[in-house]
């Protein structure tokens, strides 16, 4: 029987790396973690991901897979226990749609709110809330986006469960308030506390420090 060699290159805080960590936990897989210092990337990382030079990279028996959502699909197709994506082609396409919406629209719109000021921030808030309303509609009546169990879409949006609260604290602004977004708020709570997820959250104080610094840097660049 061949030894399954699995490595995950990631950083301590990246939500994209965290998606893969969560997926591997759900699948019950053992692997080696290489924590990268993104200001000083390892030769291995640059060798495995020469195009983007980014984490996460998942290496399986010497084969590197890059881009977190591509990695998730690879993991789901290779190890079929605890499926992340539904079997039905239409349900699968819907899951892929929401995950892409998350990365292309939701994440940038939240980031815009976090890094802007004044009128620009007001505009950014409108856009972000429009996006959040779509998510609220999608999660309505479900415990997880995947139904009863955490799935691909939950993992794609997992970053919201810990990061939204941190960003809100730093700028003293509530974006996902429980009154306007009851289902989304409940989902964030359920996901955050899930036993497969909870043990991996990065240190909160360290995250606050990091994101405060990122915001400063961004505001100074624009000024």
């Amino acid at each position: 029987m061949a030894e399954e060699e699995m490595k995950l290159f990631r950083s301590w805080s990246s939500p994209f790396g965290m998606r893969v960590v969560h997926a591997l936990k759900i699948k019950g897989l053992q692997y080696e973690t290489i924590l990268e210092d993104l200001s000083n990337k390892s030769a291995s990382l640059l060798n495995y991901n020469p195009i983007h030079k980014k984490i996460p990279v998942f290496v399986h028996n010497g084969n590197p897979i890059c881009e977190s959502l591509v990695i998730l699909e690879y993991i789901d197709e290779t190890w079929t226990q605890s499926p992340l994506l539904p079997q039905d082609p239409y349900a699968k396409s819907t899951a892929r749609f929401w995950a892409k919406f998350g990365d292309d629209k939701v994440m940038p719109s939240i980031w815009s709110v976090f890094t802007s000021q004044g009128d620009a921030r007001e505009e950014a808030i409108v856009q972000a809330k429009t996006n959040l309303e779509f998510l609220e509609e999608e999660i309505k009546g479900k415990k997880f986006f995947g139904g009863e169990a955490i799935g691909y879409v939950d993992l794609a949006f997992g970053w919201m469960a810990n990061l939204i609260g941190i960003l809100e604290e730093i700028i003293d602004l509530k974006l996902v308030d429980a009154e306007k977004f009851p289902f989304l708020s409940a989902w964030m709570s359920n996901f955050y506390d899930d036993p497969a997820i909870k043990e991996f959250w990065p240190n909160r104080d360290r995250m606050v420090e990091k994101f405060k610094a990122m915001r400063e840097l961004h505001l100074n660049k624009v000024a």
């Binding site: 897979i65 890059c66 699909e73």
Partner: protein, 228 residues
């Protein structure tokens, strides 16, 4: 469900719509092509893609599917008995998905900027980026094709469709921008010819001349609105 109606909301110049049409052709699926009028969005489009309000949208029975690469994968998975579009091996699938995402997220924005950017540094940078990207895709082609005519090997696959959707636009950009893109990549150049001539492509690939006219109009319009 297999006998349910298939409709595709689209527009003939769109590279994204072209991807969906090629995939449907590969699977020999009969569908109704509903052409959106340029500059307007039909009620059906707004209803079936309320999030993005964009084409293409595949409507299969009651089910709308949006985002071209998601549509292509849906077509591959629903009509599973037809010729396979994605490779069967998970690692090769991951490689194909990686490059398709690269084309959409990194490569095409650069190529498009060649036309939209003003002359000077911005245009130079866009051109440089687009050329480097094509060189990477030329390498990827050699690795994926395994000696075959296509990224998918002997027949058109996912990555062929992903890049092939842009083939007409690549030719338009070369002509309008007075630059050489695919012309400097011998394998991709040959690939382009094979792709264009394939049965599932040749009847739906827009004529470069017609695309050129549309491009002139779009570029002028985009540049004009950018100035306001």
């Amino acid at each position: 469900m297999a006998s349910d109606e298939v409709k595709l909301l689209g527009a003939w110049p769109s590279p994204y719509v072209l991807r969906a049409r090629i995939a449907l052709n590969i699977k020999r699926v009969n569908y109704e092509f509903l052409e959106e009028k340029f500059g307007t969005k039909s009620d059906l489009l707004l209803k079936s893609n309320p999030v993005h309000k964009k084409i293409p949208v595949l409507i299969h029975g009651e089910n709308p599917i949006a985002e071209s690469l998601i549509i292509v994968q849906y077509i591959d998975e629903f009509w599973a008995s037809g010729p396979q579009i994605l490779p069967s091996d998970p690692y090769n699938r991951a490689v194909a998905r990686f490059w398709a995402a690269y084309i959409d997220d990194k490569w095409y924005p650069n190529a498009r900027a060649i036309l939209m950017a003003d002359e000077g540094e911005a245009k130079k940078a866009a051109l440089q980026g687009a050329i480097e990207g094509l060189n990477l895709l030329e390498d990827a082609f050699l690795k994926c094709s395994n000696g075959g005519k296509f990224f998918g090997g002997d027949k058109i696959g996912y990555l062929d469709i992903a890049l092939g959707g842009f083939l007409g636009w690549i030719r338009v950009i070369e002509r309008m921008g007075d630059v050489t893109l695919i012309g400097n990549c011998p394998n991709l150049l040959k690939w382009g010819e094979n792709f264009a001539g394939d049965d599932s492509v040749k009847d739906v690939l827009p004529e470069t001349e017609k695309l050129f006219e549309v491009a002139k109009f779009i570029v002028a319009k985009t540049k004009a609105s950018a100035k306001h």
